[in-house]
Symmetry: C2
Subunit: 406 residues, 2 copies
């Protein structure tokens, strides 16, 4: 059994790095607060007997040796970065529970056969730099290193510059750290476990994701003196796109979601008709065919709206990740661990994206979900109970023992 | 006749205070650039023999004595502030043409019977501080001084602080400067004169205006894991409001316009469903009954949308100005001046708001329009020809001579 108090107190301790007055965390990837939590994490892993290395994207690997040094380690972990107004569990629970597994094994004097590797992936959130799950994308070579390093935030700072700024551009080449498998604990970030009063989600699938960047170019003019029929209103155009995204997701649902966010109106003024707007939009669904239909549907809707309003709309697909199917051996070990511990559980689809989606493309991978209050995440109000966090960490421990060999 | 070259060169000279690379002007009210143009304007008026005073809102009055010192002067002028990406004619033409009238009268050695007063009104644009036409609103006591001084910009700077920062909080109490009438030259900011190939608009009416500030409060949550039916999406809500505003203006048109602009999404991130948005919206129409119907229609639409989406929408009316009807004696003098000068002309409704709307509530007032290219204003591409500017200034001169007595 893991130490529930110790796990809980590390969650509260790290929540101070970027802690907000409302009890959330603002710890954007590669920020000063991220550096603080990384330094803390490195020291804690070393104190737990691990050797820490950092790769060219700042991904952190804390190695705990096993009996068979020839085996690639079993990776466990998640991420420590957060949304601009995020919670203290998203990613953090999975990373600190992995550390707690190592500490608990140390306490119990257990050496696994396969080495273990606790991982903190860089920029899982995708809020400061797009796309999300960037560090793990680099690790599995889903995106080239040079392209990732060149991506910039809203202020024009590149990933490479941000890594240097906090001293976390590591020596280790991307992908050097091998794994025999990967296992990630995470809060569900959705309402299902709570609604069904269950403790453990055995994640079998992950939604496919498409991210787009868009730009509407109309024409700025006077809000009082420009007749309605002569307008090229970028905001009215965007409004139709927002409602089209929503309608596509609803029509092709129930297993599809679509969102528009991150709007910037250039040169705005209250009595100027908006002339230029940039926006981000996305679709997610576990079904590859529906993902394709959503994409086609959006392209058609945007073309129709732009044509009708005689404005130009540019839509760039900046990221596309097909649906993920986790490894039956790993999900089986998760289900068996829950069963053995007497914890209620059910198979699930992950609504959010996770680094494990990338790991699943190279090694047997699985995920464990625990409930979060009202299914709320990406919000400072995000909350999970100490008991559920401990239950998830115990399932992680027992699945690790089954997969890595005690 | 005014001096067309001199008028044109003052327009180009002042366009340097806040001039943009695209040939526009960014001279937000009470900014450093506004201070520069105000200093220039004061010096130019004094050089033309006027006495300049400044009131408690920074409105500038340049008095040219007449034969009958007992008469309140005829006010002529407009404003020198601009939109964030404005042009070099909006307001500026009317202010500098008024100065040119004084210079031309000086050159010709003409003393009018009624004194003249060249005016530069503070914050006509309403972009930095709402509402628009703020200085003239204070002058006619449409809004109390204390309330105006307390209005803040997006950075939280108040009108009072901004006046002090550029040294233009004057000694003269609001409304001290009396007028016997007011006359303002302005670019049309709409497409009609150009389309009909006419030079002079005799402005007989001004649209009524309602300005609202709005706030949508939904709930921030994860864009990937929150099912569509559980969302409280503030941006989707706003999108329906934008399209409702547009539809109301079209349905109650052709003499109505409606616009949503100046959107801020709180705490935005591309994979967070927008939870809170502030926005500005407005309607304008020359018909008081239609203005009322637009207001009622918006309130009903907003209530319906908020109810359907289970989000809260707050809508505050921050400004309402009923339609303006200019004085027949003044508009008659404008039409007669155009006729006498052989300039084509027609009666018009002003689409944009102007300080003259406020002046019309206290003294006989009128306006003169000249065409601008493609009807475009509130845009750096705003443009008017030297000939049209000179024609407008000549109509102003001759209407002044008729009203003030040569
Ligand atoms: N788990 C999680 O919140 N990931 C952020 C990336 C995303 O799914 O948008
Ligand atoms: N004339 C002009 O552009 N005024 C600005 C105020 C407004 O009409 O919105």
């Amino acid at each position: 059994q893991i130490n529930a108090d110790r796990l809980w107190s590390t969650i509260l301790e790290t929540a101070q790095f970027g802690g907000t007055p409302k009890g959330g965390v603002k710890r954007l990837t590669l920020s000063e607060e991220d550096r603080q939590v990384r330094d803390w994490f490195r020291a804690a892993c070393e104190a737990a007997g691990c050797t820490v290395s950092v790769d060219a994207l700042g991904n952190m690997f804390a190695l705990r040796p096993g009996r068979d040094a020839s085996k690639a380690p079993l990776g466990i972990g998640s991420h420590l970065d957060t949304q601009p107004t995020g919670g203290k569990f998203d990613g953090i629970l999975g990373t600190l529970a992995a550390l707690e597994v190592v500490r608990a094994l140390n306490d119990a004097g257990i050496e696994t056969d396969t080495p273990l590797c606790v991982v903190n992936w860089t920029n899982e959130e995708g809020s400061r730099f797009a796309p999300a799950m960037m560090g793990s994308a680099g690790h599995v070579a889903d995106l080239p290193l040079a392209e990732i390093l060149a991506r910039t935030d809203a202020e024009g700072v590149s990933v490479g510059e941000a890594l240097d700024a906090i001293g976390y551009r590591g020596e280790v080449p991307l992908g050097t750290q091998k794994f025999s498998g990967f296992l990630e604990l995470h809060i569900e970030q959705g309402p299902i476990l709570e609604a069904e009063n269950l403790t453990i989600g055995v994640v079998e699938h992950g939604q496919g994701i498409i991210w787009y960047n868009g730009r509407v170019t109309g024409f700025e003019s006077h809000a009082g003196s420009t007749p309605m029929h002569l307008r090229k209103d970028a905001l009215a155009t965007l409004s139709e796109i927002v409602l089209a995204v929503e309608k596509l997701a609803v029509d092709l649902g129930p297993n599809a979601v679509g969102t528009v966010a991150d709007i910037t109106i250039a040169r705005q003024s209250r009595n100027v008709i908006p002339g230029e707007i940039t926006f981000a939009t996305e679709f997610r669904t576990p079904d590859a065919g529906i993902l394709e239909a959503l994409d086609k549907g959006l392209q058609a809707a945007v073309a129709r709206i732009a044509d009708k309003r005689k404005v130009s709309v540019q839509l760039d697909t900046i990221w596309r990740k097909e649906p993920t199917h986790f490894d039956p051996k790993v999900t089986g070990a998760v289900a068996a661990a829950a069963q053995k511990l007497g914890l209620s559980h059910r198979p699930m689809v992950s609504g959010a994206g996770h680094d494990s989606f990338h790991l699943a493309t190279i090694v047997p991978t699985g995920m464990i979900f625990v409930p979060c209050k009202d299914g709320v995440s990406h919000n400072e109000l995000e909350s999970a109970t100490k008991d559920d966090c401990a239950a998830g960490a115990n399932v992680l421990l027992h699945a690790v023992l089954a997969l890595a060999g005690d």
